[in-house]
């Protein structure tokens, strides 16, 4: 079973990030780049699938040289091979352009590996921009099936059975392979790296794949290939202070509760 896991390096989302008023861009000085949390779940799910059913796990990302650290982290926790997809022309790509680049990358990596991928694992969304669109668009470009919010993948005749999380439980859906799955947080956490795997990953070479290697068309990548563009970023409005309702002699507790319920009904929170 050949598995590809697509990851993205993002700013550490446990840190409160502010916008720079001068540029309107997020202030990322001193914010550690990390592997997108949903991608770490995708990798763990892929690694478990491989350990149970055999195969290899390849990990790839579109990014700059800094993203190599994320690939090496992945190599320490279950990935067998890692590739960096890097080119100046890829800057400012939206999900449509990224899916196009990745579809080309899938073909290139299959050529390098000498085998077709059976499953492409992605995180359900990146914690920085949270579009949640790349996996679905990639599947469309590859003309294969896709399932989102996946919390489990098991082998089945001719493909895989996936569990898709819903508000009330989960659906079990059969998918023919090859396919793309966008992973939601499963009921387990990603493993921690062993010392030996970490040291091995540190020494691993991460080959770089460029636009020339992929044969991407200039008008389909970067801003030119994007259907959307970011007009501006805004911080969420500060929450206003709540209303304090205190019983008094004039308005005893029963009356206060009635008034509070009325206010909540009016605000349509009840």
């Amino acid at each position: 079973m050949e598995i590809l896991v697509l990851i993205k390096q993002v700013p550490d989302d446990s840190v409160d990030i502010k916008l720079d008023p001068a540029t309107g861009a997020p202030k990322l000085d001193g914010v550690t780049p990390v592997t997108n949390a949903f991608d770490t779940y995708a990798l763990e799910m892929a690694a478990r699938y491989k350990e149970a059913n055999g195969g290899t796990v390849t990990v790839a990302t579109i990014g700059d040289d800094a993203a190599v650290s994320s690939i090496k982290e992945c190599l320490a926790v279950g990935a067998d091979k890692g590739f960096l997809i890097k080119d100046d022309s890829f800057a400012d790509s939206d999900p449509t352009a990224k899916a196009y680049i990745l579809s080309k990358a899938v073909a290139k990596l299959e050529e390098i590996n000498g085998a077709k991928f059976d499953i492409v694992f992605c995180g359900r969304e990146a914690t920085d921009v949270a579009n949640g669109a790349v996996a679905v668009k990639l599947a469309a470009d590859l003309c294969v099936g896709v399932m989102t919010d996946v919390i489990a993948v098991d082998p089945a005749d001719g493909g895989v059975d996936v569990q898709q999380q819903t508000d009330t439980g989960y659906n079990v859906i059969g998918l023919a392979t090859p396919c793309v799955v966008a992973v939601q947080k499963p009921d387990y956490d990603p493993r921690y790296p062993t010392i030996k795997n970490k040291m091995k990953a540190r020494k691993a070479q991460v080959p770089v794949i460029t636009a020339a290697d992929l044969g991407t068309e200039a008008d389909k990548v970067g801003a030119a290939g994007s259907l959307t563009k970011v007009l501006g970023l805004h911080e969420p409005p500060k929450r206003e202070a709540g209303i304090k309702i205190v019983p008094t002699k004039e308005e005893p507790i029963a009356a206060v509760v009635t008034r509070a319920v009325g206010m909540m009904a009016e605000a349509k929170v009840l």
Binding site: Y192, P193, T194, I195, K196, K198, M199, R202
Partner: protein, 383 residues
């Protein structure tokens, strides 16, 4: 001396810190409150390779340096003193003497599962009448031809209920005092060997501290560790290393107390400003951090000397003495800076103070460290 870690070592220590931040720290209060052995962390640390971090790969270890091991003990202690002593007793007191004094067969049979984290180790020297004074121990090992028979008991044994492999000391020729002690490897489940009770302690409450009882316990002849009647040397050299591990624990506890105190004091408003803004707070913490850094330097010096195969008994003793007394002093003063909340069990400061105290006592009290240091002074300086 240069104590900089290589990029690789730093990477490993960062990964350990990340693990401790997520898995060890959040459970420390519960481990203390419920006197719960950190079984999950022990298992995970083993799987990740930290239970044999400095042993060669051919013996199941990760092949890193001793200094990295000591920094790992310090890191874990920053998050949970109990978890750090579980690892430290296992590696310094059980795995190390087998690595140093064991035969190749003993290493393959016992060190490999210890260093790979598959099995847990413990060390048994102390008895009701013999702690520091090892020659006063009553446990005996008699040569019965094709096996040794052990009789007696050991107390205050760390990891006791959870350990699989024990390094045990016993008198083989009582009349010879320290020259009549031998070391042995005893496996859990050996007939005649049992673990009894559970000490209710002031600090490191999650660690298993119990009595070992040997009642006509027969162990194979090949389980003699090191040479016959040379057990005192095995015990003392093992404790030299153990003391470095405990110094690391003390530094970790003290550092965490300072970090948490600064964080708290920056938020706690009194007289219209955070108490961090008062010079008394700042100067006290400046003094404390200076002491902790001094303790860390003594610690790393001792670890480096051990790593380089240099004499280090006195260096280990100095590191443990200063780090332990610093930890007790720092945690007490941090609690004072926190005030009333620090005295409650809703906050970790009283736990830090309780955990710090043991570092002045086990693996040689501060008084014993002074004996070792003054002994070294007396031996190296002529009249």
């Amino acid at each position: 001396m240069n104590f900089h870690f290589s990029e690789e070592e730093q990477d490993i220590l960062d990964a350990l810190r990340d693990y401790c931040e997520k898995e060890v720290g959040p459970k420390a209060a519960e481990i203390d409150e419920e006197e719960k052995f950190p079984e999950e962390a022990r298992k995970q640390l083993g799987e990740m390779g930290y239970m044999g971090i400095y042993f060669p790969e051919e013996y199941g270890g990760a092949g890193l340096t001793y200094l990295t091991y000591i920094a790992a003990c310090e890191t874990i202690a920053e998050y949970c003193a109990t978890t750090s002593v579980v690892l430290s007793a296992h590696e310094s007191l059980c795995a190390w003497p087998i690595y140093k004094y064991g035969t190749e067969e003993q290493k393959q049979k016992y060190l490999v599962p210890l260093a790979s984290g598959e099995k847990l180790g413990a060390f048994g020297l102390t008895e009701p009448g013999a702690g520091t004074d090892a020659a006063m121990q009553k446990t005996t090992a008699t040569d019965d031809g094709d096996h040794w028979t052990l009789n007696g008991s050991k107390i205050f044994i760390t990891n006791a209920h959870y350990a699989d492999i024990f390094v045990i000391f016993a008198m083989t020729e009582k009349e010879k005092g320290n020259h009549g002690i031998s070391a042995f490897i005893v496996e859990k489940g050996t007939p005649g060997f049992s673990v009894s009770g559970h000490e209710k302690k002031m600090g490191i409450r999650g660690s298993s501290t119990s009595e070992l009882i040997f009642d006509d316990c027969k162990i194979p002849k090949e389980n003699l560790l090191g040479e016959y009647n040379k057990g005192f040397k095995v015990a003392m050299t093992t404790l030299d290393g153990g003391r470095i591990g405990i110094a690391a624990q003390a530094v970790g506890i003290a550092q965490r107390a300072i970090i948490d105190t600064v964080k708290y004091d920056k938020q706690r408003i009194q007289f219209g400003k955070p108490i961090w803004k008062f010079q008394n707070t700042q100067f006290q913490l400046a003094d404390m951090q200076t002491k902790v850094d001094a303790a860390r330097l003594l610690l790393y010096r001792a670890a480096q000397a051990k790593q380089d195969g240099e004499p280090h008994s006195h260096l280990a003793a100095m590191a443990k003495l200063f780090a332990a007394e610093t930890a007790s002093d720092v945690t007490r003063r941090c609690l004072q800076l926190i005030g009333g909340f620090g005295y409650t069990r809703d906050y970790p400061f009283e736990r830090y103070m309780r955990d710090a105290k043991i570092t002045e006592i086990y693996e040689g009290t501060s008084e014993v460290q002074r004996m070792v240091i003054s002994g070294w002074l007396g031996n190296t300086i002529e009249a």
